[in-house]
């Protein structure tokens, strides 16, 4: 289990660092926009309190009767420190999750040789998990209309999987035919198209949403580049026995 243990060590350190930095970036760049959007949301929702998405019933997470209402019966962190603490926790935990994926997949391809190669791997992660799904499903603010959650999650996961497979075919195989197939696999989910809401009408101002899309994309870029660079820098310490073949990538 040495390899598994080494992957977990590298991923834990890289994920912790990138998650902490991401939390700080979000606190300045994205969370204020989310809070601002929630003021429009609660203004538009009237007496229903904190109601997300279109007011119509059926838009609910767990099949509960009425629409999707936060802060009703289910627990939610209190605004302020508690809410920020859970955001930080989510950043760190998923940072480690993304790092596990990144390190495991890069080890299958021979391993990341150094921090500069790590940047390329990080950029691949950014393209896979932020750019590609964001084309069809741009980052949303609370109170914006959206299609059925399950359908969007399916499209999101399928797009991420297709983009990862396509990039692997392009970058890790030295074959023109496989590269063409890789491009086709990356493009395919966008031809199918992401699930869209019936109407895009929202009380959230377009400028606010635009700022949010830019903020989400750039913070994610920094997160992924840092994750890849740290993983690449740490690899030599933990995988001394299994040197990366130099020049396999980048």
């Amino acid at each position: 289990m040495n390899i598994f243990r080494n992957v977990v060590f590298v991923a834990a350190i890289a994920g912790l660092l990138a998650g902490l930095v991401m939390t700080a970036l979000q606190a300045y760049a994205t969370v204020p926009l989310i809070l601002e959007a929630e003021t429009y949301e609660s203004a538009g929702a009237g007496a229903a309190g904190h109601d997300h998405g279109e007011a119509a019933a059926g838009h609910s997470h767990d099949g509960a009767a009425a629409g999707h209402s936060h802060g009703g019966e289910a627990w939610a962190p209190a605004d302020g420190f508690e809410r920020s603490a859970y955001t930080a926790l989510a950043n760190i935990v998923t940072g480690i999750g993304f790092a596990l994926l990144l390190v495991a997949v890069s080890e299958m391809a021979g391993g990341i040789a150094n921090w500069r190669q790590g940047l390329f791997w990080g950029f691949a992660g950014f393209a896979t998990f932020t750019l590609a799904p964001g084309l069809g499903l741009p980052p949303e603010l609370p109170g914006m209309p959206a299609a059925d959650l399950g359908a969007r999650q399916v499209w999101w996961v399928a797009t991420v999987a297709a983009t990862a497979a396509g990039l692997a075919l392009i970058a890790l195989r030295r074959s023109a035919i496989l590269a063409v197939i890789g491009v086709a696999v990356i493009v395919a989910p966008h031809i199918v198209g992401a699930p869209q809401p019936a109407s895009h009408d929202t009380a959230v101002p377009a400028e606010l949403h635009h700022s949010f899309v830019v903020a989400v994309t750039l913070t994610s870029l920094v997160f992924w580049l840092l994750l890849g660079a740290v993983a690449g820098a740490l690899r030599g310490r933990f995988f001394a026995g299994t040197r990366a073949p130099q020049g396999s990538l980048a």
Binding site: M1, N2, I3, F4, V7, V8, A11, Q26, T30, V31, I34, H52, G53, H59, H61, D62, H68, H70, G71, A74, W75, A76, P77, R83, Y86, T87, A90, N91, V93, T94, I96, G97, F98, A99, L100, L101, V103, A104, V105, E107, M108, T130, P133, G134, L137, P138, P139, E140, P142, A146, L149, R152, Q153, W156, V157, V216, T219, S220, G241, T242
Partner: protein
């Protein structure tokens, strides 16, 4: 997946190596899926700002 010591590290069979890497990748997918995609109301509320900030499909 034997309990090989560090001395055997370099000789770990490629199949065992692949299995360990696959397990690590699956663990990562499970963690991301739980935090980012759970339909449980409590998990959703706790990770609300995170989900929006990472552009996960949220509500």
């Amino acid at each position: 997946m034997n309990t090989a010591s560090a001395a055997f590290d370099a000789q770990t069979s490629s199949q065992s190596r692949f299995m360990q890497l696959a397990m690590a990748a699956l663990l990562g997918i499970f963690v991301i899926g739980f935090v980012g995609f759970s339909h449980m109301e409590v998990v959703h509320n706790a990770g609300h700002d995170y989900r929006h900030s990472m552009a996960f499909p949220c509500h």
